[in-house]
């Protein structure tokens, strides 16, 4: 059973714990936190806590009290659960607390004491559901794990030392070989028995001989029990290992008791319980009743060379074993789990189950990730994990429309995909246009599903889920989100049947991936040096989500970074919060990667520059960093500022970089190569990798809007790497508004609120509810209008639409919650009325508008504008104008198309962001043309974005160029060209097949910044742009000219088979990146090759 907060709370009434006294327990709590903080961050932060010599003895006493409570229930942990649940909970909770203390206490130096200390601590951790903390302790205390030499040792000691070594392996589980060695060690002991046993049974006294014989009997049973556990962890065999494990541990305990060997008896009792828990935690046990795909998956996870997995984290185990994650009767499951709780693995199990359930009908899975970066990340993870078991994962680009190559993926007749990774917008497009034919959508996995309530895309996501509910009747749902209370209502909404919804909430268990410290940092004068200043860090007690620690502490020395006092303090007022953030992140980077967050790209670059300036050189630059430097030199420019920053281990992450660069920054942070990563607040949307510390210059987005508490904690939750840091550090620049910052940190995350509801609430608050129809044209209702238009496109009849409207609305979370609450019926009614009004409006629009809205992703109003725009062009477009050569060649019509796009509200907003001097459609079309024709980013930056006050590397110009290309053109130019080709009404069918396909490939060329279809295929498979055209040529040469080559899967296979030398052939002249470097970058970006 998973440990509950109540069980931990109930401990205070236990006789031993209460004997400690409430005051002393509180003092122990404080000491534990202080001890942990000092141990984790003491080198960087001089904590102001006082300590004294008697603390350890005091903590020993408290630990002993918890151990008493654990011992009372230990037998319950060695049996199947359910006999005495209370006692079992007590044992788990008490072990959980005892571990909190024991891990901080000094390790005995005497060998024998040390072995038993390590074994007992390890066992206590398992009994307290703390194995992830134990693994970290193992990393931090490698010396304590050393097995003593067996030379010259007596036979019983030899056995003990070997068994210690086996259990260290069982606890740490460093891969298959680590566990597999146990078998050999035990076999070796069996061989040694003949050599050593007899001498040990000659003690000159019969009583002594008997005692030793009994001890050996205990050790032999222990060895067998150990072998059984190791075998099960590796192979999952025998199917029910408990009978044998119990038998040998009970035999061992009986013999140890008979020999009067108290120490062996005690450790065996703990290890017996541990063995049972370890088996129950194992992937094999959790999935023993599910299908063969899952078994294959578990086998592949346990056998793989890198990051082999054997057991589940407590929240994962609870979801699988206790909360029905794999219950087929549950059609909608909402998992609320803390950040880093291991949600992806849960999703993977559910995916495999759904694939199996829908095997006969070739069901497919949609995995929805909110951002491009997360889509790419999840694709890499799923491919790596699923490819070995033959589950095919494909990713759709973030562009709204479907291009020719994606059509091929979706049709995928010869090699159908199983899992499709897409953004919400893209999946919406796929579903509305029924792009996957004749195959049922089995499951939608929605990652970061709390985005349902966000202002920007919340409504779109809600309506996507509503559309899936409506259009894909068999679909199951799995929503993954952190920090959401009352998630049952979301599950109920999605389940077609009230009992089929399941909320799995694990946000409230005491288990944590690691501890956290949260505080405010500020600059303070330090007169010990002229113009001196220092950083203070005030730890907070305002939130239960972090360790309560009091006091203001000093960070590092005077002038932690080389910045004059005047830049961080002026007349006692805090200033230069970005610099302060850079300073603390730089200091704290000594313990692992720090993320420094600011709300503007400019500040991010400044922070990064300052951090890089102050950090010492690497002794040797990590090869991963050198690789990324070469990539930047090749893809962007040799003088790009980031190249020099990386030299010091400083990375940046913001919208002014390509997806690839951002993905590589994430990769460097993930592998621990970066010291600091400076990022904009938008990283809160997409950070999916753990770091050591997170510091925020502000908790507000660029336009002053505060992050929601859920977004903040999702970001803060990344502080602390589960395998490395016992404590993650989160800091906010105190600035001048301390009170509101404290209020922000202490705010609760609350239940999820539908964006539809909050929009109606806003209207009601303004007294405008009755006028909903009049404001429905506004941007924030665009997704809703598309939703209604989809119904129209299907029914094409006003009466039918009017009568189905209520049913349509009932599919949404917002309308359902309003209808379920009698006090909200006016809002529900207003929405229904507005839907009817809008349906009537659609009826009056030209024929085909609603269908075009579906097929372009534009709103009906956008379609109308586009039609008018195309109609008023001076020269009408002909089919040949759409050919790539004419569109992107001199005098091509791309400028005209941009002119039309700038009239469509959905495109206009972003395209106008390009801005700059002389902004007009010509400029956008010139940039687009250069981009497609292969011009490098630095050349585009110089030509279109250079400015007087820029640095040598043209950082500002490159930033602007990247923003324009990756945000405006790649997304909206692509979408616009594709949509306008549909709206234009031209008869493409009259064109030859080759021409038609080339036109269909146009959007992809803009998206990927390449000119040929072969290069597009390379880019779709993550090859760097600078090599894509040459790789495309190579591909064509290798595969041949036939049309069969236009397959994304085939292109991926081609890239996989390329040697370093092949890559060398594809390198542009004078590229900094070598052939092997290209290959490695490709492996990282595509997730191939175990990167």
């Amino acid at each position: 059973m998973t440990l509950s907060a109540n069980a931990v709370e109930a401990l205070k009434d236990h006789w031993a714990v209460s004997a400690i006294g409430a005051d002393d327990l509180a003092r122990a709590e404080t000491l534990i936190n202080e001890h942990l903080a000092r141990r984790a961050v003491g080198r960087q932060i001089a904590f102001s806590f006082s300590s004294n010599e008697s603390d350890d003895a005091f903590l020993e006493r408290v630990a002993l009290a918890f151990e008493m409570a654990a011992i009372e229930g230990l037998d319950e942990l060695s049996r199947p659960s359910g006999e005495n649940a209370l006692l079992r909970d007590q044992a788990t909770a008490a072990s959980f607390r005892a571990f909190d203390i024991r891990r901080l206490l000094p390790i005995p130096t005497e060998t024998h004491d040390r072995l038993f200390f390590v074994l007992e601590l390890s066992a206590v951790s398992y009994c307290g559901d703390r194995w992830s903390d134990l693994r970290r302790w193992y990393r931090e205390n490698a010396e304590a794990l050393r097995a003593p030499s067996v030379a010259e040792s007596s036979w019983d000691r030899r056995l003990l030392y070997r068994l210690f070594h086996c259990w260290v392996r069982l606890f740490r589980k460093n891969g298959w070989d680590d566990l597999d060695r146990i078998r050999e060690i035990i076999a070796g002991l069996r061989e040694d028995q003949t050599k050593f046993e007899e001498a040990r049974l000659q003690n000159g006294s019969h009583a002594a001989d008997r005692a030793i014989a009994l001890r050996l009997a205990a050790l032999y049973h222990w060895a067998k029990g150990t072998e059984l556990v190791a075998h099960y962890m590796l192979q999952g065999q025998p199917a029910n290992p408990f009978g044998l494990i119990d038998k040998h541990f009970e035999g061992a305990i009986g013999a140890a008791t008979a020999s009067g060997d108290a120490q062996h008896e005690i450790i065996l009792r703990w290890l017996h319980a541990t063995a049972r828990i370890m088996v129950t935690n194992s992937l094999w046990w959790a999935t023993r009743t599910v299908n063969s795909r899952t078994t294959d998956f578990v086998r592949s996870l346990t056998h793989r060379e890198h990051q082999a997995m054997f057991e589940l984290l407590p929240p994962q185990r609870a979801a699988l074993l206790e909360q029905g994650l794999l219950d087929q009767a549950k059609t909608a499951i909402v998992v609320d789990m803390p950040t880093s709780g291991g949600k992806t693995l849960l999703a993977q199990f559910r995916i495999l189950q759904a694939l199996n359930q829908f095997d006969a009908d070739s069901g497919w899975i949609a995995y929805v990730a909110p951002t491009r970066a997360l889509s790419a990340q999840i694709t890499r993870r799923l491919r790596k994990d699923f490819e070995p078991i033959g589950v095919r994962v494909e990713q759709l680009t973030a562009a709204v429309e479907i291009d020719a190559f994606e059509e091929e993926i979706l049709a995928g007749s010869d090699q159908p995909f199983h899992v499709l990774v897409a953004t919400p917008e893209k999946l919406s497009f796929v579903i509305r246009n029924k792009k996957v034919e004749d195959r049922p959508l089995a499951l939608v996995v929605m990652d970061e599903a709390h985005n349902l309530e966000t202002e920007g895309r919340g409504l779109r996501i809600e309506l996507l889920l509503a559309t899936v509910k409506r259009d894909c009747s068999q679909a199951n749902f799995l929503l993954l989100m952190p920090y959401v209370e009352e998630s049952e209502s979301v599950a109920r909404w999605l389940a077609q049947d009230i009992s089929a919804g399941q909320a799995i909430s694990l946000g409230t268990t005491p288990w944590k991936p690691n501890e956290r410290i949260i505080g405010f940092y500020s600059a303070a004068p330090d007169d010990s040096r002229r113009g001196g200043w220092r950083l203070n860090f005030e730890t907070l007690t305002a939130t239960p989500r972090a360790m309560p620690l009091r006091g203001t502490h000093r960070v590092d020395g005077v002038r932690p970074i080389d910045v004059p006092k005047s830049q961080v303090l002026a007349k006692g007022q805090q200033k230069g919060l970005g610099l302060q953030t850079a300073a603390i992140a730089t200091v704290m980077s000594a313990r692992g990667t720090s993320v420094a967050v600011a709300n503007s790209i400019r500040t991010v670059w400044n922070m990064a520059a300052k951090s890089a300036q102050c950090l010492p050189d690497f002794e040797t630059i990590p090869p991963d960093i050198e690789l990324v430097q070469d990539f930047l030199r090749t893809e962007i420019g040799r003088n790009f500022q980031l190249v020099a920053m990386l030299e010091k281990g400083v990375g940046v992450h913001h919208a002014g970089l390509s997806d690839e660069v951002r993905a590589l920054m994430e990769w460097l942070a993930e592998t621990g190569s970066l010291r600091t990563l400076c990022a904009t607040t938008t990283i809160a949307q997409g950070i999916n990798f753990p770091v050591s510390s997170v510091f925020l210059q502000t908790h507000k987005y660029p336009y002053g809007q505060a992050m929601s508490p859920r977004e903040f904690w999702n970001l803060a939750g990344r502080a602390g790497r589960i395998d490395h840091d016992s404590v993650g550090v989160i800091g906010l620049a105190e600035g001048s508004d301390r009170a509101s910052l404290i209020e922000f940190v202490s705010r609760s995350t609350g239940a999820l609120v539908s964006r539809l509801v909050s929009l109606l609430d806003e209207l009601a608050a303004q007294g405008q509810l009755a006028n909903l129809s009049e404001v429905l044209w506004q941007d924030q209702w665009e997704d809703f209008r598309c939703y209604v238009a989809h119904l129209w496109a299907e029914k094409k009849n006003l009466d039918a639409v009017l009568s189905d409207s209520e049913q349509l609305l009932r599919q949404t979370y917002g309308y359902t919650s309003l209808r379920n609450d009698p006090s909200q019926s006016a809002k529900a009614q207003a929405l229904l009325d507005a839907t009817h009004d809008y349906a009537r409006k659609l009826a009056s629009m030209p024929e085909g508008v609603a269908e075009l809205a579906d097929s372009t992703g534009f709103s009906p109003e956008g379609v109308t504008r586009a039609m008018i725009g195309l109609g008023t062009l001076e020269t009408k477009l002909t089919p040949s104008d759409w050919a790539p050569d004419s569109l992107f060649g001199d005098g091509g019509k791309i400028a005209d198309l941009y002119g039309v796009m700038l009239k469509v509200p959905q495109l206009k907003r972003h395209l106008e962001e390009i801005g700059g001097e002389g902004f007009d459609r010509t400029r956008i079309s010139d940039i687009t043309r250069d981009w497609v024709n292969g011009k490098g980013i630095d050349a585009i930056a110089r030509e279109y974005f250079s400015r007087e006050k820029d640095d040598e590397g043209g950082t500002a110009a490159i930033t602007d160029a990247c923003r324009s290309i990756y945000r405006a053109i790649v997304n909206n130019g692509t979408w616009g060209v594709s949509a306008l080709s549909r709206v234009s009404g031209l008869d493409f069918d009259s064109l030859p097949e080759v021409e038609r396909r080339r036109i269909n490939a146009l959007p992809a060329m803009i998206y990927h910044g390449v000119r040929t279809e072969d290069a597009v295929l390379m880019r779709m498979n993550s090859s760097p742009r600078s090599a894509a055209e040459r790789l495309g040529d190579l591909y064509r040469e290798t595969i041949g000219e036939s049309d069969g080559r236009y397959s994304v899967g085939q292109a991926r296979q081609f890239l996989k088979n390329l040697s370093d030398r092949d890559w060398q052939r594809a390198c542009p002249d004078n590229a900094a990146l070598s052939g092997s470097g290209y290959k490695r970058v490709w492996e990282v970006l595509s997730g191939e090759g175990g990167a």
């Binding site: 006789w15 031993a16 004997a19 400690i20 003895a57 020993e60 006493r61 002993l64 009290a65 151990e67 008493m68 011992i71 009372e72 230990l74 037998d75 024998h112 038993f116 019983d156 002991l189 069996r190 028995q193 003949t194 046993e197 007899e198 049974l201 003690n203 006294s205 019969h206 009583a207 002594a208 001989d209 008997r210 005692a211 030793i212 014989a213 009994l214 001890r215 050996l216 009997a217 032999y220 049973h221 060895a223 067998k224 044998l244 038998k247 040998h248 035999g251 009986g254 013999a255 008791t257 008979a258 020999s259 009067g260 060997d261 108290a262 120490q263 062996h264 008896e265 005690i266 009792r269």
Partner: protein
């Protein structure tokens, strides 16, 4: 039935550390050996299922021949085991003690790693129950004190360890806790535990010498004095020297086995 309290032959020291010399007559010894001491010595209830242990061994895939040979032989009683049984019985009957640890089969001196105590249990005083630990030495040596007082495993060192080392006491306390589950004395244990958590020196220690030589206060005198010095607040120590009839130790073990065998046949 209780064992005889014995004749007090000397008293040494006062709280926190005191000593007493006691003498048993031949009758006192015979009564004890025929009654409660034998029950403790043979620990009928706590007797291990040796056959069960041996049978299960086959499945460990270790050879069991050697162990079978040693374990299937008859058990013999050594002097020190008799001494411990007498001490346990005496403290139970005359010092309000209870020693649930089945030490009748305790072979710890044969090389166990847990630094422990011969007797681990509870003692009732005017404040209720507290933890009680005892060390027992059996010696016929005509020296006062006997050599068993000194050395690495001597009574002196053992009592000092129990007095000064919280980690040894913690270990014994935990071990008692495993035994306490479901036991009749669980409430007494909890009470002692609560006292222990309030003050980890709140324990009763016993040093017990079983002798079969003429009584002499030098057996305990220096130790009583030394152990009383720097004795932590809350710790009480009593040294008892029980003098059995001369030369009786050698014969009582065998006699006990014989009596037992006779009773069984």
């Amino acid at each position: 039935m209780t064992v005889a309290e014995g004749e007090t032959v000397y008293n040494e020291g006062s709280a926190p550390c005191s000593g007493v010399g006691l003498a048993w007559s031949e009758n006192d010894l015979n009564d004890a050996m025929n009654g409660p001491v034998a029950a403790v010595l043979f620990d009928d209830e706590g007797r291990a299922d040796i056959e069960g242990i041996l049978t299960g061994l086959a499945e460990t895939e270790f050879e069991q021949k050697g162990l079978r040979r040693v374990l299937s032989g008859p058990d013999s009683i050594e002097d020190w085991r008799v001494g411990e049984a007498i001490a346990e019985t005496y403290l139970t009957d005359h010092r309000n003690c209870c020693f649930p640890w089945p030490d009748g089969r305790d072979e710890r001196k044969s090389g166990s790693s847990l630094p422990g105590a011969d007797l681990v249990g509870l003692h009732a005083d005017d404040q209720g129950d507290c933890l009680a630990f005892g060390e027992v030495k059996t010696s016929s040596e005509a020296k006062h004190p006997p050599g068993a007082m000194y050395g690495r495993t001597g009574l002196k060192q053992q009592l000092e360890d129990l007095r000064d080392s919280a980690s040894i006491r913690d270990g014994l306390f935990k071990y008692l806790a495993y035994r306490a589950r479901g036991a009749a004395w669980i409430e007494r244990f909890k009470q002692a535990g609560k006292r222990y958590f309030t003050n980890k020196s709140d324990v009763q220690l016993y040093g017990f010498l079983v002798r079969d030589v003429d009584p002499h206060k030098n057996d305990v005198r220096v130790r009583v004095e030394k152990l009383g010095k720097d004795c932590p607040e809350g710790t009480r120590i009593e040294l008892l020297a029980l003098y059995l009839p001369e030369d009786s130790i050698k014969r009582i073990g065998n006699a006990a086995v014989a009596t037992r065998a006779g009773a069984a046949s």
